[in-house]
Symmetry: C3
Subunit: 100 residues, 3 copies
Amino acid sequence: MPTVYLTSPPDAAAEIAETLLEERLAACVNRLPSESIYRWDGEIQREAEAILLAKTTDEAYDDLVSRVQDVHPHEVPCIERFDEDNVLESFATWRAENVD
Amino acid sequence: MPTVYLTSPPDAAAEIAETLLEERLAACVNRLPSESIYRWDGEIQREAEAILLAKTTDEAYDDLVSRVQDVHPHEVPCIERFDEDNVLESFATWRAENVD
Amino acid sequence: MPTVYLTSPPDAAAEIAETLLEERLAACVNRLPSESIYRWDGEIQREAEAILLAKTTDEAYDDLVSRVQDVHPHEVPCIERFDEDNVLESFATWRAENVD
């Protein structure tokens, strides 16, 4: 099952997480504070960013990605998928029951 | 080698990490503060959670999972395994030496 | 494409991230605060650590690892590679354009 790694400006992160939960695209989202450094238009940028780790299912993944693109303030958001190599079965069952 | 992704109430996280170290089920545990949103009993819940990233070995993984279930306050804890695709050899050696 | 998972003493983390950006070994680095517990010389150690998540390319990975070893204050730093299972195409393109 996928964990989707997203980054977002801190003030947009809660809304993204709420949207994914309200629309049953993720069973849970963990939101972490971070400091990011990256290149944009050839310049190095330094700013606070939230990292969101959204737990979803294979079936919901594509819809989750397109919904994030709808609500994300960035033109080119970081959206990456990491599949776990094992998971506690009861957690996997709960997760599948809470994602459409 | 596995990194085990766990979430826990903040006040239980240190004890889980200490148990894994004391019992040599992990060589190290990184503990991060996060805000979580998830569905439980049909309601959306929002609360602080700790994320624990435990570095262990293939051989110790199953024991680590069952030990976390023993000490974790949740009925259905998030316990996921992510295997790295490469690791600095000296770190892998240190890790194997510190896990039984 | 790889995400490189690094840990570092908090006061060395910004310099490691800046080096990877300046030398175009990573397109971005997310830096997170954490508490770590680990075994060193047989004793359990507890201290604050930064986690760095560096987004790079297959081609730049080996150079990134050796450069981190150059600048990292630890003898045996945690350097692990996690390859994503999927990524938003525009983000992958941006990333490749910003890593040499």
